[in-house]
């Protein structure tokens, strides 16, 4: 059974700092998705990673995929308060537990 694990589950960071969220999965897959969810809201697609070595960047977020290590990372650069949300990775249709990010001034 496919397992998708994210860590950390909770992340509190200061504005301006960098941090990385990790997503490990247990079976072979060549596609991985990152979503953002604000409290009480729906899921917003951030990145679709479709091959080994894929790297995508949007603003202060950068996502990468290593299919051999079964690992994806979501790197946050110089965090700002607006990035506070829960971030989910998903492999095929199975989601990780989410990382609740709080960015403090």
């Amino acid at each position: 059974e496919l397992k998708v694990e994210q860590n950390p589950l909770f992340l509190s960071m200061q504005e301006g700092k960098n941090y990385t969220i990790y997503c490990n999965y247990s079976t072979t897959s060549d596609r991985l998705y990152w979503y953002r969810q604000d409290p009480g809201k729906s899921l917003e697609s951030l990145f679709v990673l479709l091959s080994n070595g894929a790297v995508k960047q949007e603003g202060r977020l950068m996502a990468s995929l290593d299919t051999k290590a079964r690992l994806s990372t979501l790197h946050i650069t110089a965090a700002v308060h607006d990035l506070s949300a829960t971030y989910f990775c998903a492999v095929t249709k199975r989601f990780g537990a989410g990382t609740r990010l709080t960015v403090k001034p």
Binding site: P39, L43, V48, L50, F88, K93, F95
Partner: protein, 114 residues
């Protein structure tokens, strides 16, 4: 901008009653999905639908659940006899190409079973 729309936004139902959750996917999308999320926790896959049939379903999607595309636009999830543990936010999503592009999620239906 095209979006997935879901109705109702909130549904309260008595345990044992049937509910139908409705979704209008993005018009040129071909793949449709239902997910649920209990109290802001993990997002759980229920079912995917393509070409008027179920393409995949999870272990959660048992006999009390069914999906239908009754016309060219609506996509529905029916829960035949609701249980307290069915209380959750139900999200519909659609995508144009299976797995190769992002899925667009609707705003969700909050189902409360009392």
């Amino acid at each position: 901008e095209p979006e997935v729309t879901q109705t109702p936004s909130h549904q309260v139902t008595q345990m044992g009653q049937e509910v139908i959750l409705r979704c209008v996917p993005i018009s040129n999308h071909l793949y449709f999905y239902w997910y649920r999320q209990i109290l802001g926790q993990k997002v759980e896959f229920l079912v995917s639908f393509y070409n008027n049939e179920i393409s995949e379903k999870s272990e959660i999607f048992d006999d009390q659940f069914s999906v239908e595309r009754p016309d060219g636009s609506n996509f529905t999830l029916k829960i035949r006899s609701t249980k307290l543990e069915d209380s959750a936010m139900y999200f519909c999503a659609s995508s144009s190409i299976r797995g190769r592009t992002e899925a667009f999620f609707g705003q969700g239906t909050r189902l409360t079973v009392v």
